[in-house]
């Protein structure tokens, strides 16, 4: 099958690759660009393990063709923090035991990152509603909710201190 030339900005870096028109974005990220943080849990858009941030929106990359993403600005878990400076969400997930097997975690944190931009000071109910597209089989969510609320509080107090 003939391939398309696809240009993306991934985690701040311009990248180019060739991919078949039918290739899913998650496969292009994982297999052509070696970005293996986002995972595949269902391929039907239910589990959210493949969640990435695309042009300022949370997107399940298992149900988007890479061709549709051509020109997009993408952030994955790899772009949120680095070993020298974890993102507050990454810190809070560690602090509050917001993960166990870790398979849902990249999608979960990437979605939470967008949620806190949509709603910087969410209630528990708003977190639960806003995160309902991401499934976890290990934690029962209680500590994930705690982690996200703690991150929101942390980010807000940092913001206040800066003002």
């Amino acid at each position: 099958m003939s391939k398309m030339h696809i240009k993306l900005k991934v985690n701040g870096e311009e990248v180019e690759t060739l991919a078949e028109p039918r290739e899913l974005l998650i496969h292009v990220l994982r297999e052509r660009l070696d970005i293996t943080g986002p995972h595949i849990g269902c391929e039907t858009s239910h589990c959210g393990a493949c969640t990435i941030d695309m042009d300022g929106k949370s997107v399940k990359s298992c149900t988007v063709f890479a061709a549709q993403a051509n020109g997009a600005d993408i952030t994955t878990i790899e772009g949120l923090g680095n070993p020298d400076g974890l993102h507050v969400l990454q810190e809070m997930f560690k602090e509050h035991h917001g993960l166990q097997c870790g398979f849902c975690t990249p999608g979960m944190i990437t979605r939470a990152h967008r949620l806190l931009q949509e709603n910087p000071d969410p209630t528990e109910e708003e977190v639960r509603f806003g995160m309902a597209g991401n499934l976890c089989r290990c934690t029962g969510y209680q500590n994930i909710v705690k982690s996200i609320l703690a991150a929101a509080a942390e980010l807000n107090s940092a913001k206040e201190a800066a003002q």
């Binding site: 943080g37 639960r128 029962g140």
Partner: protein, 806 residues
């Protein structure tokens, strides 16, 4: 020796040992997307395999034509049973003493069964090839209902063994019958039931479901033809057992096979089984000389890899008028699907179902289990439970409720008067187990107080009045459960899988500078072993947990063990860890005594050092001892500081717990709201409370799923109705409540640190708690038993049948 010794508390805290909520060392990788799961593995030249699967639950395979598939660019091979037969790999042994087709050998026995394996350069080409393999089937009538398996004219499923009267677990009375397994005293139990004041009888069905870890199963096989070595990466909860099985079925010498379980994205029992995909990836790698990856998709995971439960448990339970239980009888019809691939210890074809007397002092009991073949996927794994313990706990906790109704007693009080008493431990159960320890009354009272049980019952009575008066359409249910688990399989004298004793192991190496590496025969799937086992060790050998690396999952480096499932890691490998630590300490004591120029008996252990008795200013820290082990010639002592322990547990452990669920039910819509869920767990000594609570939250949510909506359902033609996450219920954050956790601590008397295991307790106890809440809400209207899962539709139907919509 001239340094000031810090106070004991400070030194103890610095170790981050037993009992502290140490943050997980795994999380730095996982939160940054740097986990290394099976689908992340990429080897040079790697190919991809995908299955052609049967659309029919029962059919002859007349022909398979790969020609068109082989024309697809990128498709390199199509492997069928005919190709596997010369290698004797077209069938493989199951964990339960049966055998299973790797690829369809003349017929298919369940929808989704593996028929051919297409190998291609990438997953898209493989999928294209799958589409083009032409298979001609001749449909046969399916057997879906296990109660119709032995009626006249029932289709015979396993023609390969139709004439065999003897199976792996004794006589077979019909070609569709697998085994009958019995425990207890049948005659005595029937005579108790015949003469009893009160007898309750129910059919308790624990429906078929699936562990559905977020990561599906997969493998990467790489046969290096130059040096004859096979490396097999995969989602294996028991890597060493996989190596042995792979060697036995492939003929490759075991030392030439290296099995690696990388990070595993949840297991819950699903990854205990040996699947055709693993075998086919190995064969494909041998055939092509390249690494071959197989990753199943979610639909394949739900329809073809191991299911859980599917037990029809007919029960009778008797009591005196005063409410003292006198006898329990159970006959279980176990739907095992097309091949008996249950993951149970060899001598227990129905797992530990004979723990079904639960937390109660029941003097006489009898259990019989009949295993039956049907046209469904094989499996029968312990989905977040120890070998059929969830089924047993659900059965007894439902029977207790039904009998309480019959006696017109409060279900909490009824339990209390029948609990095994603290002074009765170790307790010999009527069905053959020796419960190691327990204090059920203390836990029960603590739980009832915590939720203010009396006030809840008063509120429920008021609600009922309001309901009857037409003031509300919501009923309130209080779901009680007191469960006893049996975990930590197990003693080699009665527990093995495929002849491999169920011990476990730990090997420790102390480095010269006083840090360490420990390797275990288990494998974490999210339980946080790298965090908690280092804590056990820190307390045993006085080296900070932060200075101990923990490794699992590579059979070339880890000592042999039977893996992680059935809550066995802490009871067995955790014990091995403590024992290996004690061996280190014993040698360290000799080294310290030599350095301090005293006799071995003249030094004593003090958190992180040996001190001379009566002279606390004279000591050697573990760091000093470690260095000395490598740089001094000590007479009579070998250099180095290493130890290995293979631990064969003397008994199982018996964690228990008291769970209470308060639920509101809208009778008009069938919707439910969990108002409160209180979970008290007693898992003996607590290693890391943070991780225990996380395990409880997760297990309860899996229990919520199972009790309230999750099932693998088949239609009458044998089609899977719940084969994707569209239909198979997994609760989201929105549906999941917050849980209150609590504990009591009754250490195991035979475990080196008194720990019992906890990962599965919340699933074992959670399911009956949710289900009992539903039943309790309708108790006043005469409901005794209804089948799970209690989804909105089923609850609506229950309310409707009880006349609540009239």
């Amino acid at each position: 020796m001239n340094e000031m010794t810090p106070p004991k508390e400070e030194r103890s805290e610095a170790l981050k040992g037993l009992g502290c909520s140490r943050k997980r060392v795994e999380d730095a990788r996982f939160t940054q997307g740097k986990g290394n799961y099976i689908d992340d593995i990429k080897l040079p030249g790697m190919l991809f395999g995908d299955f052609v699967r049967s659309p029919y639950p029962h059919a002859y395979v007349k022909s398979i034509n790969p020609d068109k598939a082989l024309e697809v660019p990128g498709v390199l091979a199509v492997i069928t049973a005919k190709d596997l037969e010369p290698l004797n790999l077209h069938w493989m042994p199951t964990l339960a003493g049966d055998k299973q087709m790797v690829l369809a050998d003349g017929k298919v026995l369940f929808q989704g069964q593996e028929v051919a394996f297409v190998v291609a350069t990438d997953r898209y080409a493989a999928a294209d090839g799958v589409e083009l393999v032409e298979v001609e089937y001749e449909e046969l009538p399916p057997l879906v209902d296990p109660f119709k398996a032995e009626i006249e004219g029932a289709p015979i499923l396993r023609e390969d063994i139709a004439e065999e009267k003897e199976g792996a677990h004794g006589p077979r009375r019909h070609p569709n019958h697998i085994f009958t397994w019995e425990a207890g005293d049948k005659d005595a139990t029937e005579s108790v039931l015949d003469g009893a004041d009160v007898v309750a009888e129910e059919m308790v069905y624990y429906h078929r479901t699936h562990p559905c870890p977020l990561e599906t199963c997969g493998s990467v096989a790489s046969m290096d033809k130059v040096n004859g070595k096979l490396t097999l990466y995969g989602t294996f909860q028991a890597p060493h057992a996989v190596r042995t099985v792979a060697s036995l079925i492939s003929g490759i010498a075991e030392h030439n096979i290296r099995v690696i379980s990388p990070d595993i994205g949840g297991g819950f029992g699903n990854k205990v089984g040996v699947y055709p995909g693993y075998v086919c990836s190995i064969v494909a790698s041998i055939v092509t000389g390249k690494p071959v990856k197989w990753i199943e998709d979610r639909i394949e995971n739900l329809t073809a890899t191991a299911f859980a439960r599917d037990y029809w448990m007919k029960g009778k339970i008797s009591a005196t008028k005063e409410g003292k239980i006198t006898g329990l009888w159970c006959h279980t019809t176990a739907d095992h699907g097309a091949f008996d691939a249950c993951a149970d210890p060899t001598k227990f074809p129905a797992g530990f179902m004979n723990i079904c007397t639960g937390s109660y002092d029941i003097p006489t009991a009898y259990l019989a289990v009949d295993g039956i073949y049907t046209n469904k996927a094989p499996g029968g794994v312990a989905y977040r439970c120890s070998f059929r313990v969830t089924e047993a706990a659900y059965f007894i906790e439902r029977m207790i409720e039904v009998l309480a109704i019959k006696l017109d007693m409060d279900a909490a009080e009824f339990r209390r008067i029948n609990f095994i008493k603290k002074e009765q431990f170790p307790y010999q159960s009527a069905l053959g187990w020796e419960y190691d320890s327990g204090d059920y009354h203390t836990a029960w009272d603590k739980a009832l107080d915590a939720v203010n049980y009396k006030a809840l019952r008063e509120e429920q009575a008021e609600r009922l009045e309001d309901f009857k008066a037409g003031k509300t359409r919501k009923l309130m249910g209080i779901g009680l459960t007191h469960f006893t688990e049996i975990v930590g399989a197990g003693p080699v004298k009665n527990c093995d899988i495929l002849g491999l004793g169920m011990f476990d192991s730990c090997e420790i190496r102390i480095h010269p500078t006083g840090s360490a590496i420990a390797r275990l025969g288990t494998i974490s799937q999210g339980q946080g072993h790298a965090t908690t086992f280092a804590q056990i060790l820190a307390s045993e050998i006085g080296i900070s947990a932060d200075d101990i690396t923990l490794e699992e999952g590579d059979t070339d480096t880890a000592p042999y063990g039977l893996g992680t499932y059935g809550s066995r890691s802490t009871p067995v490998a955790g014990a091995a860890t403590a024992m290996a630590g004690r061996k280190i300490r014993a040698k360290a004591q000799m080294i310290a005594a030599y350095l301090l120029e005293v006799h071995d008996g003249d030094v004593e252990w003090d958190i992180d050092r040996f001190v001379v008795k009566g002279a606390p200013e004279r000591f050697k820290t573990m760091k000093e001892i470690a260095f000395a082990a490598y740089n001094q010639a000590i007479p009579g002592i070998e250099p180095g500081l290493e130890a290995v322990s293979y631990y064969d547990p003397p008994n199982m452990t018996y964690p228990f717990g008291a769970y209470i669920c308060v639920m509101d039910i809208d009778v008009d819509t069938g919707t439910t709201e969990i108002r409160q869920f209180y979970a008290l767990d007693d898992c003996g000594t607590r290693i890391n409370p943070m991780i225990i609570e996380g395990q409880v939250h997760g297990g309860l949510t899996e229990a919520l799923a199972i009790a309230m909506g999750q099932e693998i359902a088949y239609d009458e033609m044998g089609n899977v109705k719940t084969g994707s996450l569209m239909d198979f219920f997994i609760p989201t954050m929105w549906e999941t409540p917050n849980y209150q956790t609590d504990h009591t601590t009754t250490p195991s008397p035979h475990h080196p640190i008194g720990a019992k295991g906890v990962g599965e307790s919340p699933n074992v106890g959670g399911v009956p708690a949710f289900s009992n809440a539903v039943h309790d809400a309708f108790r006043a209207f005469g409901l005794t038993q209804s089948h799970m899962p209690h989804d909105h539709w089923r609850i609506w139907q229950t309310a409707n049948k009880l006349g609540l919509h009239d």
